[in-house]
Subunit: 153 residues, 2 copies
DNA sequence: CAAAATTCAATTGCGCACAATTTAATTGCG
DNA sequence: CGCAATTAAATTGTGCGCAATTGAATTTTG
């Protein structure tokens, strides 16, 4: 009589493992990002901006899987702090582009230390990290496919 | 001359893979949980309550890695909807315990369908799911250890 | 036993995160 | 060309999520 496993058991659920690991990352990043004055989502936005300065609000949101309701106020807060500027595209007035200021570009140097500390915390698991990231990427794709009406259609 | 990989490249970061997969889960769950009237965090709380009715607010928060600033208002909203009741512990007046109502217990039957749909979306990856979950669990432990002053101390 | 320290819940303030709506600009189609 | 459909941002409202603080109950300790 093998007891049937509870299908609603929290610890057996992949979704909760992802949820909890996400919060753990936020906690880990918090003191490191406090040092450069960014929140974790803001840090992600800068990762994009350091690679693609002048990107549109829309494209920034697509890159981070966030919508305008999240991006717009975040970008406005960063603009208020002088880390970037928002500017309407001349050719298409619907589009707002985000340009880093010198101060915003300057943050990058300080940010370089952060992934090193992540690497240190996970030092023994270097091999697993690639597997995990690949698995999570595939997970996201499968979930998003399933979320937007089966793509087989 | 192998080009040195950008240490701040978004797509190479495990933290972003976790972050994005978490949002993908939320999106996937949204329409399923709308059907039973719960948000995703509320669903997690019920997973705990269905297994541990009468748990304290503190213990519920520990289980979900959330603090009273998150749990207290969530539990109050659920109480306002008649899904549970809050009650001070008689032996220790600091403690508030959470008890499911009949309606709250009744949600469990509807919730059983949800993990089945997750399984369906990830059908071909059943083998990877266990590896992923284990990897994420270990990831969370390593990050939390590193977050709370090295435990080697 | 009494004062100090700890614990639990609640509260306040700020920043995501997303659904739904609104407004403006652009594209597409007859 | 002119109107409909689409697209981009912004806005509104609700609900997390956490830091910091408060207040009350309990435990620890001198």
């Amino acid at each position: 009589m093998a007891r049937s496993p509870d299908p609603l058991n929290l610890d057996s659920m992949l979704c909760f493992a992802v949820y909890a690991a996400g919060h753990a990352f936020t906690r880990f990043y918090k003191p490191r990002l406090d040092a450069i004055g960014l929140t974790y989502p803001q840090y992600l936005a800068f990762l994009v901006l350091w690679e693609a300065d002048g990107i549109s609000v829309k494209a920034l949101g697509d890159r981070l899987f966030l919508d305008s309701g999240t991006i717009t106020p975040m970008v406005k807060r960063l603009e208020a702090r002088g880390l970037l500027q928002r500017q309407r595209d001349e050719d298409d007035e619907r589009v707002v582009r985000v340009y880093l200021t010198a101060e915003g570009r300057g943050l990058r140097a300080k940010a370089l230390a952060v992934p090193l500390e992540v690497g240190a915390a996970l030092s023994d698991e270097a091999a697993t990290v690639d597997t995990l990231r690949a698995g999570l990427h595939r997970l996201r794709v499968l979930l998003d496919d399933a979320s937007s009406g089966t793509p087989s259609a």
